[in-house]
């Protein structure tokens, strides 16, 4: 006959009551020397249940808070196994989502019923949206490439008519102001007998010739850090020392002039057409400004330009004629021969110097 202690039954009842109330009871202490009977066995089972149930509720609470970073407890409770399945599935979904976030849209969820359908549908939508964006990006990149090419073309065109610094200023601010440059050297050249030549050869051929000559001059001018301003018919105007200051502006222009003559001589030795130039060089102040609103032209103004032009007209074929102000800058660097002073229209008597041949 089983002897049941009422106090033992009370403790068991209280434990079950607390569990049903939603609380976690502490395991029931067995009295030392408790008999090996059905009550003791029941107490041990209930304690085991309390322990596994406590672990389960703790894990379930963590899961409910969205915390997946815990190791699920051991045990055989069906509820615990279902929770562990849910935990495993949620961790798997997290991993899958991370893969998709990295751009792998091939990831699929299987065997999760409605959730699989919804998740895989979302992944497909994301994939399609991503592909659309990719395609739009490609179209945009292509459009940007075309725009960039066109911009580079227009920049190149702009640089053909404007010095780089002026072109930059115009692009950034939309305007440029006239600027006085105190110390600039100006080169003026003109082809001897151009008018006669133009009457003798076809216009297309004449233009071809001029194009070749001026292209080479441009190259020499650029190589020497100078700036071609413009051509007027067969005349060629270049400067150095503006718009960017250059302390050796006169030296550079003179060097460019000698190279122009040297190149022309070499060309004449092998060409059907013989071209000869006169070059005049003068140093002084110049005003530079963009002229025009729609058709921009960067031009230079001032008496220095007129004087350079006069130096050119007082020069001789294939000679380089310098004014005194230009000569003073480079007399130590090159060989010169002083010419008898000349009466220059609008200027009076002027000292001039030929570069030694």
């Amino acid at each position: 006959m089983l002897n049941v202690n009422e106090a033992d039954i009370d403790r068991l009842t209280e434990a079950i009551y607390l569990l049903l109330k939603g609380e976690t009871p502490t395991p029931i202490a067995l009295a030392p020397g408790a008999p090996e009977n059905e009550v003791t066995q029941l107490t041990q089972f209930i304690n085991k249940f309390i322990e596994e149930y406590a672990q389960f509720t703790q894990a379930m609470a963590a899961l409910a808070r969205g915390n997946l970073e815990f190791e699920p407890p051991k045990g055989h409770l069906h509820a615990l196994q279902s929770m562990k399945n849910l935990h495993a599935n949620l961790r798997h979904l997290t991993w899958k989502t991370q893969q998709i976030a990295k751009g792998d849209f091939t990831q699929q969820i299987d065997f999760m019923h409605d959730f699989s359908t919804a998740f895989n549908g979302m992944t497909l939508q994301l994939k399609q949206a991503f592909e659309r964006i990719e395609q739009q990006n490609q179209t945009l990149a292509e459009a940007n490439r075309v725009i960039q090419e066109e911009k580079e073309k227009s920049d190149r065109l702009l640089l053909n008519v404007l010095p780089a610094r002026v072109a930059d200023e115009l692009k950034q601010t939309g305007k440029t102001l006239p600027e006085l440059f105190d110390d600039v050297t100006v080169l003026f050249s003109d082809f001897v007998g151009f008018t006669d030549m133009s009457a003798q050869i076809k216009p297309e051929l004449l233009i071809d010739q001029l194009n070749e000559l001026f292209t080479q001059f441009d190259s020499i001018i650029e190589d020497n850090g100078c700036e071609r301003i413009k051509t007027i018919g067969d005349a060629y105007l270049a400067v150095c020392g503006m718009p960017a200051p250059n302390p050796v502006h006169c030296h550079n222009i003179v060097k460019a002039a000698t190279e122009m003559v040297a190149w022309l001589k070499k060309r004449n030795a092998v060409s059907e057409f013989q071209w000869r130039i006169r070059i005049g060089i003068h140093t002084g102040p110049v005003v530079g400004a963009v002229v025009g609103v729609k058709k921009y032209i960067y031009d230079v103004f001032g008496d220095t330009i007129n004087t350079a032009s006069r130096m050119e007209s007082h020069s001789e074929p294939m000679r380089i004629n310098l004014s005194d102000s230009a000569y003073q800058r480079v007399k130590e660097a090159f060989l010169f021969e002083e010419r008898p002073s000349c009466m220059v229209k609008g200027k009076g008597q002027m000292r001039m110097f030929f570069m030694a041949e």
């Binding site: 495993a88 798997h92 899958k96 990295k102």
Partner: protein
């Protein structure tokens, strides 16, 4: 071929034969119970002859070899862990081996937790407080060895037999 004495593995994928030709009517699939019949009778005899520990070793090594050959013959996406796991998941599903899920993966530390639900070896077995999927442990270790050239320690921490409803494997770099 099949019954030669050997000290090193002579297994090759061709030993599986041309199933399509050999089974034109019954096809390549069979009942899970037949697979388990062979696995557990084999285990039964091996334990009788060699004991539990050695039998476990045999199953692990057989799984390891299977994983290696499986990878070399069926896995094609080998560029990254991501692609590899994604394809492995598809392959195991298509072959009705189990539903592989990656719970956690730290590719730099090379630690993974993967689960296999509806596992071919153990899902539905009677509860017995034992982890039974030693072959699966070897299989996963073999796959990862083939993918990385490195040894991994694979331990089953939850099994249907031990009361779980999925098989959970902890994977970490081998010693």
């Amino acid at each position: 071929m099949f019954k030669e004495e050997r000290n090193d593995s002579l297994f090759s994928w061709t030993m599986l034969g041309n199933i399509q030709e050999g089974r034109p009517n019954l096809g390549p699939k069979t009942d899970v119970s037949v697979y388990r019949l062979m696995q557990f009778t084999l285990r039964d005899v091996l334990i009788q002859k060699f004991g539990v520990e050695l039998t476990d070793n045999i199953f692990f090594e057989a799984g390891l070899s299977a994983g290696l050959h499986f990878y070399n013959n069926l896995v094609t996406k080998r560029d990254s862990y991501d692609a590899f796991f994604a394809q492995l998941q598809e392959l195991l599903k298509d072959l009705n081996v189990g539903i592989l899920r990656v719970e956690k993966a730290d590719f730099e530390a090379k630690t993974f937790t993967v689960t296999v639900a509806e596992d071919l070896d153990c899902s539905g077995l009677p509860a017995c407080e034992e982890s039974i999927c030693t072959y699966d442990e070897g299989f996963i270790a073999g796959l990862l060895y083939a993918h990385t050239g490195e040894i991994f320690d694979v331990k089953e921490v939850d099994c249907w037999c031990s009361g779980g409803r999925v098989c959970r494997f902890d994977v970490k770099p081998g010693a």
